[in-house]
Symmetry: C2
Subunit: 468 residues, 2 copies
Amino acid sequence: MSDTQNNCDIEFSPESLSNASLMAATTAAIAACLQNGDLRALRNFFASHETADVAALFSKLPSQVAIGAMAALETHDQARLFGYLAPPCQTEISKLISRRDLATIMAAMSPDERADLYKRLDPLAQEAVLPGLALAERDDLRRLASYPEGTVGAIMTSNYATLAPHLTAPQAIDALRRLALDTETIYQSYVTDPDQRLLGVVDLRDLLVARSDQRVQDIMDGEPAHVRAEAPREDAASMISRYDLLAMPVIDADDKLVGIVTQDDAMDVQEEEATSDFHKAGTVQRLASSVRDATLLALYRARISWLVLLVFFNIFSGAGIAFFEETIQANVVLLFFLPLLIASGGNAGSQSSTLMVRALATGDVGVSDWTSMLGREIAVALLLGLSMAVPVSLLGVLRAGPEIAVVVSITMVVIVLVGSLIGMTLPFLLNRFRLDPATASGPLITSVADVLGVLIYFGIATRILTLA
Amino acid sequence: MSDTQNNCDIEFSPESLSNASLMAATTAAIAACLQNGDLRALRNFFASHETADVAALFSKLPSQVAIGAMAALETHDQARLFGYLAPPCQTEISKLISRRDLATIMAAMSPDERADLYKRLDPLAQEAVLPGLALAERDDLRRLASYPEGTVGAIMTSNYATLAPHLTAPQAIDALRRLALDTETIYQSYVTDPDQRLLGVVDLRDLLVARSDQRVQDIMDGEPAHVRAEAPREDAASMISRYDLLAMPVIDADDKLVGIVTQDDAMDVQEEEATSDFHKAGTVQRLASSVRDATLLALYRARISWLVLLVFFNIFSGAGIAFFEETIQANVVLLFFLPLLIASGGNAGSQSSTLMVRALATGDVGVSDWTSMLGREIAVALLLGLSMAVPVSLLGVLRAGPEIAVVVSITMVVIVLVGSLIGMTLPFLLNRFRLDPATASGPLITSVADVLGVLIYFGIATRILTLA
């Protein structure tokens, strides 16, 4: 609906973002509005689209056009838009606008987005924007910005609603009505004692259906799920997902309430962690920004160390081949089957590790489940190996005679079994030693399976062909 | 908190789930309570833990113990617990309890969970439970169950709150108070005309802060984000994530409101889709259940077709080697470098495809971005190839002399470049032809890179060593 009733002359839909000519038209239309001083059109444009979409557009505009267009908006809308901008774009605009404008926008941003932006500013800019904030905001900002990346503290926000335990339900609803505009959510509020210690959580729904003489302390959940600010952010995300929570209270080392993590933050964490695991499984190290925004050097750094490391494994494969040079020179036809045998072990191993890495990441299986998974893995791997041995043995007979066919089919079964067992075991081992199981990536498993595959293949070939 | 104040004698925490001896103790304690008829202890146990945790425990209990313990609970709690059970466990218990008990529990379940369970029942059981439901519930169930898996309709729920547009804010709040116990959420309500067509969405927060003479139609968002019931479920999940929504209205082909998708359902979809992409990237096909619950046959099926398919690519590698037999027999030392060169191309390609597959899945880059990514990919791949060529050329000099070193280092640069370009391009191509980019898995890229790698390596070697 939002696209059809657009009543200004800037044409834009989320689909335009990945279409160069549509983007050029939108950019030109915005630039034209700026040149004509038609600020009303810009405000209408903002009002008739979702902020997230406008931000995605602004993140792709030339900085000067984006800054000009932002200037047309009210501070409140500027702050919302700013919070949604892609980090590199946010940082760049922060550098280009005046420190005073930046402080005004930051004062209007939500505390968690403000802290994220603050952390990305250079120290001089950090110093410069602080005086533009009220004292309470300044303290709050310093505190939020102090939690290391990857912790719950770094994703929580500090504008939550608190209620005193002795309030009656109607009093509590009145209090929430007054807080409604300044807090992230009023649908869940946090009941604290005078020392800010968390006593419970109360849903607005329960306050609404309560009798008017019931007090907050009678209605609240007195044993709410909660998380510590220093805990890994995945903990908060997975509890929110598991328990279907709207938000989760965060406490510090003294059990004091210091923030909340909301469900939409949890979704972002879940997506980022899935991306990070996905990248690790493809031997790409954590990128600070998206692929689109990453610098060449960052991309190079994220990839080079694994590539070099894996080469070392492959030197062992080469050494294995060199060791069996005699067998190979006597039966060059063995080389024909080398790629398919070696690759099958790596492929089977990479399948097994894929299943286990993800199951461990989602909590589907635990470390102690290794033994119970082992029997199944052996059974499945034998089935797979035997299925693969049939066509390969036919190929062997056709191309190189029955002896080679025997070598090749035995090798296939052993290699698929060994590859699968390595693939399923390595993630558990890494987890056991508190390393990230996602490091047991396909390419790593493939490299290990390659070395063993060479030894198994030529070992079996040497034995059988010498005996024969 | 919930674990320490547990006032019955059944010891349990979420950590117990992955510890065999703790699980045995918990199971024994529950069985003992059942034998002693101590139903109060079971009810206390349920009340003092999160439903999701109890359900995870019940999904691991012997069916008869689980059924006995469930019988101790009120229907309402049974229904909540049942909704959280792992699907195979839910189906098994459904078969073991009486049809009447099943109908009672299903009547108390939330509509979306009821429909999910209904779809898993066999046709006879489906027929048998329908008479136990009220007419309206029956129609609702049939309608919800009619949407195919993977669509928005299959994850939406039908107990949302609707409001008439002419209600004043206090009237609307009163209406929501009455609906509070029977709807999934009252924090967002849907404004409809008499034909159930969606007019807008209104937040409870906005109703609370409105003046008492303001009407719903003045406060509502008249252009809310919405989705069609037949759309892929990922569409709803990604819009909820992108726009930070609590819930999203679902409309049918006649623009009538038929359901809502909530944020917690969106989180589940996001996690399942990430798992599915992760599996595809490791050449594992979609599993209907978790790795832990999957049958041997299901695991075999999910893996065999890719393994066989990839073998075919590797036959080409073998044929490539066979084609260059003369060059190899004249320079057997070339074989030493074969694994590391071939693998590097595959590894670089698998890195590139990993980055692109995930970026396409999260919407970080679009199909039209291929050209703009190409230049960067070439630059990064050349940097990587040159970095790898240095140590490899040293190894070449040491092991086989300067000529081979030249062959090996040129091959490394070309192979890493070709591998990277294939890895980055294939996901775009698949997306362009409306296939799932995640199919451009590491193993597939590796296999393609292997074939080309063999040809490149021995091609360069034949040319240079013959010239020399």
